[in-house]
Symmetry: C2
């Protein structure tokens, strides 16, 4: 796979430099670590996200007004170090505590938790909400074991809006937790993405094969099957999500149809068209539909659908202004 | 190539349906043709863009406040019909005339020009500005023969802002023409994209080969070479653009680093980092840097760099608010 990079060891550092070059008025790098923070920090609870790089615009594109205040970036598909997380948190803390919101992967949990211990020695109050939206990654009885995928966007959005509103750390954590509990995603992989500097593909799929429920690092899904027409595939995925979320007539949802990298916006819009038909048929209101490639796996082919089941409070926070170069509300 | 579609013959229609499903409050389809217009049309010169589908978010994503008022969409990589263009123009005309802004391709020119003739019979005043930003597509002596690529975004942005400001048709056309004259792009292809329903690749490139100056439908470029490090490649492309545009110390430019489909945002940001270094070294001010995949060729690998050389009037119009789900200022 051809990549437009320099030294593969420097991709994260250079990605950050390119991001800040384009947005100097808004962001600055945290000294000594691969972290980025807002320049216009406010006197409020700080929200910090992060995880492995390679999923751009996630996570760097989730920093901004009404979103996260800082991001800790690991190497490609690797967790940020505890020191990295700690430095980012210290850089954004305004004395009102820090909420960490990130996807539930063991490496991330280990390192963020270690950072929390270190931060508590500095008297910085921390709470954590793990994003566990991927319904294909564990059965419902083990919901806390599920991985986080594109649902990160919704949970960070809600947490950021709650913090911006002036809620205290516990309140922000509670509402972010509720957002996560109401967020349900499932993805489908069509073709692998590659890691910069690595020639081997992380997995292979046949010319007409897809994997339903595949994770964003190529983790195994729930079913390997033949490629189906977009409508049939969308029907299958929506059936699973609506049942998981117990989403029924009269409910309102925010929808995210997320591309995994090389899947075109044309295809995502075709999927979205079917999502809207299904919701309409069932009397469920599509409060908002966002069709974009926010949570990618390099040039992986495929997409995911995410539903956030709304209530009045979540709706208000979902609607609040948010701005990053890659996520605007 | 696996595509998430239904019938390949319906991809454009279904893409439009998916786009409108997600943005019902903003857009509506034009009856009987593959065209989309803003719902909140204003009493001003109308701006219409369009061209072949398959480049999403272009062109459908360029309709909105401060951008185009309507878009005429052909089949994948095929010009819209004269009737399609005519119907879109009639739907957006407010009696102050219509400016067509689109990329310079013979099929598009033929059909848009035929539409202009038909519209003049209806007493609708029309003007056309062809986007010719691709410096690799013809030598400077034949600038009018050059193709339009990602520069469409800058020229439509400027035209839309000028129309929104209340300028007359001739004035909007003049400033859009100046924007085009000051817009310079060059692309590089790494791997082909595929047309829905077509198994054959439009071209092939070796495992370590790239093509400098390749067009957005795989048109031949100026040099087939080995993949180079991102910095070296960016240096080569910027050298060409700065010379073409006679952009020197003290000038100000808006930059667009545009992905062609499957090239990751990580790679685009790494390129942007180098673009900023080069501009800084030469004393050229990067007034704005936008790093995104706006003008794609399905899942083609590669990117382009576009520079818009600014003057005071262009800067004011560049800065004016603009909103579509895929282009926000």
């Amino acid at each position: 796979m051809k990549k437009v990079i320099n030294n593969p060891d420097n991709v994260v550092q250079e990605t950050i430099e390119g991001f800040i070059a384009a947005n100097k008025h808004l962001y600055k790098k945290v000294e000594n670590v691969n972290g980025v923070i807002r320049k216009d920090l406010k006197d409020k609870v700080a929200v910090v996200t992060g995880g492995g790089s390679g999923h751009e615009p996630l996570f760097i594109g989730l920093v901004g007004e009404g979103l996260a205040d800082g991001v800790a970036l690991g190497n490609v598909f690797a967790a940020p170090t505890p020191y990295n997380v700690q430095e980012v948190a210290k850089a954004v803390d305004a004395g009102k505590g820090v909420l960490f919101v990130y996807g539930n992967y063991s490496g991330d949990v280990l390192n963020f938790d270690m950072a929390v211990e270190l931060l508590e020695l500095d008297d910085i109050n921390c709470k954590t909400v793990l994003v566990t939206d991927d319904v294909a990654s564990a059965p419902v009885e083990r919901k806390a074991d599920r991985r986080g995928i594109a649902g990160d966007i919704f949970v960070v959005k809600i947490a950021g809006a709650a913090a911006e509103k002036g809620l205290c750390l516990e309140e922000v954590a509670n509402i972010a937790q509720r957002a996560n509990d109401q967020t349900f995603s499932i993805g489908v992989g069509l073709s692998p993405g590659t890691i910069p500097g690595v020639k081997e593909l992380p997995y292979t799929l046949g010319d007409d094969e897809i994997e339903v429920g595949m994770g964003i690092h190529g983790e195994p899904g729930v079913e390997r099957t033949k490629l189906k027409p977009a409508d049939e595939l969308t029907d299958n995925l929506m059936e699973i999500l609506l049942e998981e979320g117990n989403i029924v007539a009269g409910d309102e949802v925010s929808v995210l149809v997320n591309g995994l990298g090389s899947t075109t916006l044309m295809e995502l819009l075709i999927v979205n068209r079917r999502v809207e038909h299904i919701l309409e048929q069932r009397g469920i209101r599509a409060y908002d539909m966002d069709v974009n490639s926010y949570c990618t796996t390099q040039e992986m082919g495929g997409f995911s659908i995410t539903l956030l089941k709304l209530d009045d409070e979540l709706k208000e926070l979902y609607n609040a202004p948010a701005y990053s170069p890659y996520y605007k509300k």
